[in-house]
């Protein structure tokens, strides 16, 4: 448990704050809605309400992360978000296909939801059409995935943010700023087991100390791909949810915790970890937890 020498930015989107020194704000949790096939909105609504309820109980802010895999689902999913999420509640859209990214941005703009949108994500695959779409329909916040195929170490992740590792014309931070996105979160790009997966955790304090930006990752993905855990079926879920505590423990600000169905287990364990951190960082560094911090709620 530690504090950074570099000033740590606190960013706001809707009713949520993220970033700062460890122990100040509670860890933000992204719960994934993956929708296999046609989106089941009735089920999604139940899951979102459950996550929001857990968020209220623990104080850990929650953001539903919507995976959009097909163009035909874009309007349905955005309409659903507009209909069921409270008006000041942010959300993120997690899209791989560039053409779907563009259509989604256009429709979010049409629905006047850009001020609540976290764009997940900007990475080395960004093309000119996507840059233009982001310039024309600029989301309030974006996640930059610091994946560097040439170097998966923390230094490699900084390199991709700083200068693009000769894969993009400039660093991903400069690209994002040029587009006009003012609020940026850094994702340290969790790799598959055996491929320097630990570097995504080690990179969190390195990147926060370098840039002072809110940083986290989807460490859950490493557990999901750890096939050896199939030999320990009873433990798999425990390992999955508890992997997320690595993030606040290494000074991180948010966890992309995997499927939203994990909320019941992840929220309490992260709240517990946040309390541990806060107890020490207040005592040693004088960092005051905010009033909605789990330590304030439970003690």
């Amino acid at each position: 448990m530690f504090s950074f020498t570099k000033e740590q930015k606190i960013l706001e989107i809707g009713n949520i704050k993220i970033g700062g020194q460890p122990g100040c704000l509670p860890t933000l949790l992204f719960g994934g809605l993956f929708f296999k096939g046609e989106p089941d909105f009735k089920y999604a609504k139940i899951q979102i309400e459950n996550m929001m309820n857990l968020s209220k109980q623990t104080g850990n802010p929650a953001i539903p992360d919507f995976f959009i895999k097909k163009e035909e689902y874009v309007e349905k999913i955005i309409d659903f978000i507009d209909e069921i999420l409270p008006i000041n509640n942010p959300f993120s859209v997690d899209i791989i296909e560039p053409s779907i990214k563009i259509k989604t941005l256009e429709y979010i703009d049409e629905k006047k939801l850009l001020s609540r949108t976290i764009f997940n994500s900007i990475h080395i695959g960004i093309k000119e059409e996507e840059r233009k779409a982001l310039q024309n329909h600029t989301p309030e916040m974006a996640i930059i995935v610091a994946f560097n195929p040439k170097d998966k170490s923390p230094d490699g992740k900084i390199e991709i943010l700083q200068n693009g590792a000769n894969l993009t014309d400039k660093g991903l931070l400069a690209i994002s700023k040029e587009i006009g996105i003012k609020k940026l979160l850094i994702d340290t790009a969790a790799m598959a087991p055996g491929d320097n997966s630990g570097a995504s955790i080690a990179a969190i304090p390195v990147i926060k100390e370098e840039y002072g930006l809110p940083t986290g990752c989807a460490i859950h993905n490493v557990v999901e791909k750890s096939n050896w855990l199939n030999n320990f079926k009873d433990a798999r879920k425990t390992v999955d949810v508890s992997s997320n505590i690595n993030i606040p423990l290494f000074g991180g600000d948010y966890a992309i915790m995997g499927p939203i169905e994990n909320s019941d287990l992840v929220f309490p364990i992260i709240a517990w970890q946040d309390i541990m951190i806060s107890e020490y960082t207040q005592e040693y560094f004088g960092i005051e937890p905010i009033t909605t911090h789990p330590r304030r709620i439970f003690f």
Binding site: I124, V145, F147, K150, E159, N163, A165
Partner: protein
């Protein structure tokens, strides 16, 4: 007629597909660079080049090495933050892969960015002593060279910074890197070397490689010295995408023959071709090969 071989200096242009790399990331697949190496090698072979490289497609020539050496980290430039040490082979796996792509009549160059160039290209935050840093780079690169010579037919040391100045320890530095190697060595110094020719001639390598096409005045400069090494004659420009005609290249090589005679053992582009459009780089190599055949036969 002496056998003169067509060759390259090192790098070759390839188009990296970032979206494919991201797909590998999202799907937890291994990141492979083989298709880019294969693309570069295929072009060199298609053009008829006899002495090829791996294309140095992974990175600019400094980063290829500093990325893998302990003590370096890459920011806007390479930063030296600790003692330089060799950790593990840097380019060897790529050479092994190239060997699987080529037939026995094609030879392979192992390219090493020289210790002085690594030193001058880095931001030294640790040594505060240029010479000490350069010699530690040389010590590390020597280990790479020892591995490399098991797979390649020639080791080429790329030292562009020598064109501005060969330090008083330059000869000793390169000697440290190549001493004990069994395979032939080449020193490539691009740029205008007219003011450092005597120092370069003193460096104990087998072949000297220079940018004679972009700097034809070097012909006159070299005339003033007694040549004790073979020459790799830069014969097409690497800094200009305009493709030289076969006749233009023949005329240029003949000027080289007037100066160097049978000391010319290789003809090549002036420098690495990384910054050229791929079509231009390929056509330059094809015309180089045709010009070589016209002069030296097949």
């Amino acid at each position: 007629m002496v056998e003169v071989e067509t060759t390259v200096i090192g790098s070759y242009p390839v188009e990296i597909d970032n979206n494919e790399l991201m797909d590998s990331y999202f799907n937890n697949l291994n990141i492979s660079w083989d298709k880019y190496i294969k693309s570069a090698v295929s072009d060199m072979i298609d053009a008829g080049i006899k002495y090829i490289s791996d294309g140095q497609t992974r990175d600019p020539f400094v980063n290829i090495f500093t990325r893998k050496l302990k003590g370096c980290r890459i920011r806007d430039r390479t930063e030296v933050i600790d003692k330089i040490e060799y950790v593990s082979p840097i380019t060897i796996e790529d050479q092994k892969y190239v060997k699987t792509l080529i037939s026995n009549d094609i030879k392979l160059i192992g390219v090493i960015t020289g210790p002085y160039t690594l030193t001058k290209s880095s931001n030294d935050l640790f040594y505060k002593d240029e010479k000490e840093l350069a010699f530690d780079f040389a010590k590390a690169l020597k280990q790479e060279a020892k591995h490399l010579e098991e797979y390649v037919d020639l080791i080429s040391i790329d030292e562009p910074f020598f064109s501005m100045k060969v330090p008083d320890y330059g000869k000793e530095l390169i000697k440290k890197l190549i001493q004990g190697l069994k395979c032939p060595t080449r020193l490539h110094v691009c740029g205008d070397v007219s003011k450092v020719i005597s120092e370069i001639l003193d460096i104990p390598v087998d072949i000297l490689s220079h940018e004679f096409k972009a700097s034809p005045k070097l012909f006159d400069s070299f005339k003033q010295y007694k040549l004790n090494k073979n020459i790799c004659l830069g014969s097409v420009r690497s800094d200009n995408s305009k493709v030289e005609s076969v006749s233009e290249i023949i005329e240029h090589i003949n000027k080289g023959i007037d100066v160097f005679g049978d000391k010319i053992s290789q003809i090549a582009p002036d420098c690495g071709q990384r910054m050229l459009p791929q079509e231009s780089a390929l056509q330059k190599l094809k015309n180089l090969v045709k010009a070589g055949e016209e002069i030296y036969g097949r």
